[in-house]
Amino acid sequence: MTKKVVVAMSGGVDSSVAAALLKEQGYDVYGITMKLSDWQDTEGRKFGGCCGSKDFYDARSVAQTLGIPHYSFDYVEKFRGSVIGYFKDSYLKGETPNPCIACNQHVKFDYLLEQALALGADYLATGHYARVKKAPDGFELHKAKDPSKDQSYVLYGLGQHELSKLMFPLGDLPKTEVREIARRHNLRTADKPDSYEICFVPNEDYRQFISEEVPEHARPAGPIRHVDGRVLGQHKGLPFYTIGQRTGLGVTVGSPLYVTAIEPATQTLVVGNKTDVLTQTFVARGVSWVAGHAPVLPLSATVKIRSKHNGASAELLEHAGGVQVHFQEAQSAITPGQAAVFYQGDVVVGGGTIDHAQ
């Protein structure tokens, strides 16, 4: 029997083409669009990203063009709890969240995957740029063929069960070819710009979002303290800062200042020179391993500490409650809350959340 594949269609070009390719390959393809927040905005604020109704209609139009069924799943409650809630909490803890990873781990590759399988699908597919490969002892998660598009960083949480049921049809393609395929299929999303913003934050302004959503926590000001101990002034609320941030401190002391630490316990923002942002060691918590079990540590790996980071050589070491990562060379702005992903060559070994620099 023809295998059934559910494609998570966000209304962007990538997932549109993922659906088109699977349909070409002869699968029985079903499009679904997750409704992640309420589309009607009573205050008339602009909502972009995969939450917007515009994107829903784009996804539906693509499904119609391809001649596949299309459904919408209402995940508003789940998304609010496991992604938006996490996003706010993370800032309030003085960390910098990655909501797309939370969405992948708690919504897309958890609930959506299980629901797709329960509905009778054999696989779930998405428009991520990454590759799943079957190896003798299980499934491997590889970087995309086109390194400039690789999204394996946001997928590190996948395990063997998920990988056995996932398809990433774009993993071998460069973006230019993806747009060509979209045009060839006459898909309305062929020239739609890529979206980088956080889908539930209006106008790409997370600071505004935090001050509206949790005003009681966002507002309290506190001291800006230099690493040398001097208090330089008052900040506007810790959620508005991120490690390594240079501008917007509102204080000058001659040389440029960077945020080096955020200390919610004392409401303190710590700043210093560029070199003060460099760290060689950190601890990752909530570590998961793609193989389903931890490798023998210590282990040499390339570690990526944010999505735009190129990755740097490091040693992974045993550590209570997680993994200690020791870079060969100090890295700039190791930021608690961000994901640290461990690679060996093109293969994702695992990853976790940066807990604290040491």
Binding site: P69, Y71, F73, D74, Q115, L117, A118, L119, G120, A121
Partner: protein
């Protein structure tokens, strides 16, 4: 075209081939305007007159002129309620209806409330039956209209419209019957129902979409809803949708002829489906009246399953059903009808409506009986409520105890 097993006949039906044949000439060569004097127009007038006769026979109307064609059931309902309300605004501004009406009735009443009318929504029992005595109590000196549905689209409960009609006649209040779900399926006679206005939609009984009718008893004070030309004896403006009207007429004629046979066939299939599901799937129950229920409808609550998932899971197997009414699909709000009959929230969300039709076969029902329990089982596998029930940690709402 994919082959589907279609079990959503309360949402719409497939036009019968004879209906399509009756329509085609009016979409091809016969394009005249029925109001025109010349012969090309006269041919269309004739088609409309024939259709009016065909529908009259189906619903026991002596004088076909009492039937006016409209753009569908919702228009008929809007017209009946607003038209009577506006025409009687000096007499009174009170309307009586029920809590299980279709949204065409509900939203029209809500709209009139914003314009100063008062509406009493008479409650129903947990089978969805309206107690005629409650309607009697709700009628005041100000009441200008009673509007009740003949059978409910979601749960299939048949309301004792005859008894309510009698009360209305006694009290001198006109009664509108939303008969979208009954006309063409079970015998409907405007005389037996004692109805003053009856709304009808063609696509519910194998006719085309976008055409319906309103029966208006002579002497009923009603204003027009659609103003314009003098079509339909000045009652409903707009160039007649001749193809649609001809299709409606043919559907009415066929319904009158096949009704008895179809009911027997469909009832047998519905009962078979229902019996199997109740037997095969634990913690499942039927919503609606066990006795006074449309022979084609089965609304079931499947505990610990989301209706949305059920529908998609079945669609992926080529089976079309719905949850609640089609108009509320896409919303996750549980249906107002299930709420009105006291179905607890968690069961209402897991409700599914099978509505069968004349084309369904034994084979199709057997396929559904085979597939449905598997879909339910897989979806229940996702449900923490279900796993708690299975572990004996939680009582089932339906079974009243833990597993």
């Amino acid at each position: 075209m994919k082959r589907y097993i279609y079990l959503d006949h309360n949402a719409t039906t497939r036009p019968r081939p004879e209906v399509v044949e009756a329509m085609l000439p009016h979409l091809r060569g016969h394009y005249g305007n029925a109001s025109s004097i010349y012969q090309l127009g006269q041919e269309e007038r004739k088609a409309i007159d024939i259709a009016r006769e065909q529908l009259s026979k189906l619903i026991g109307v002596q004088n076909a002129d009492e039937i006016v064609f409209t753009g569908g059931g919702s228009e008929s309902i809007n017209w009946a309620i607003k038209g009577v309300a506006f025409a009687n605004r000096n007499k009174g501004k009170h309307i009586v209806t029920t809590t299980i009406e279709h949204s065409a009735v509900m939203k029209t009443c809500k709209y009139l409330e914003t314009l100063g009318w008062q509406v009493t929504y008479v409650g129903v029992d947990w089978h969805g039956r309206v107690n005629p005595a409650h309607v009697r109590e709700a009628i005041t000196k100000e009441t200008v209209l009673v509007s009740v549905m003949h059978a409910n689209n979601e749960i299939g409960t048949i309301v004792s419209v005859e008894d309510i009609g009698k009360i209305c006649r006694e009290k001198g209040v006109p009664i509108h019957v939303d008969a979208l779900q009954t006309v063409g399926k079970i015998p409907v006679s405007v005389e037996t129902l004692q109805a003053d206005l009856v709304s009808i939609g063609a696509h519910k009984f194998y006719g085309p979409k976008g055409v319906g009718a309103l029966y208006i008893r002579p002497g009923t004070r009603i204003q027009s809803l659609i103003h314009g030309g003098s079509h339909e004896k000045n009652r409903r403006a707009g160039t007649e949708n001749v193809a649609g009207i001809a299709g409606l007429g043919m559907a009415a004629e066929l319904a009158a002829k096949d009704m008895k046979h179809d009911e027997k066939h469909v009832r047998h299939l519905r009962d078979k489906l229902e019996k199997h599901i109740l037997r095969e799937i634990e913690c499942t129950r039927v919503n609606g009246d066990p006795e006074h229920r449309m022979f084609n409808t089965s609304n079931m609550s499947i505990e610990a399953v989301e209706g949305e998932g059920l529908i998609i899971g079945l669609d992926m197997q080529g089976i079309c059903v719905s949850s609640g009414s089609a108009c509320s699909s896409g919303q996750t709000e549980p249906s107002h009808v299930l709420k009105a009959i006291g179905v607890p929230m968690e069961l209402a969300k897991g409700s599914v409506r099978f509505s069968l039709g004349r084309e369904n076969t034994e084979e199709e029902i057997e396929r559904v009986i085979e597939v449905f329990p598997k879909v339910v089982e897989r979806l229940r596998g996702l449900s923490p409520l279900w796993s708690d029930y299975k572990k004996g940690l939680r009582k089932s709402v339906i079974a009243g105890k833990a597993a």
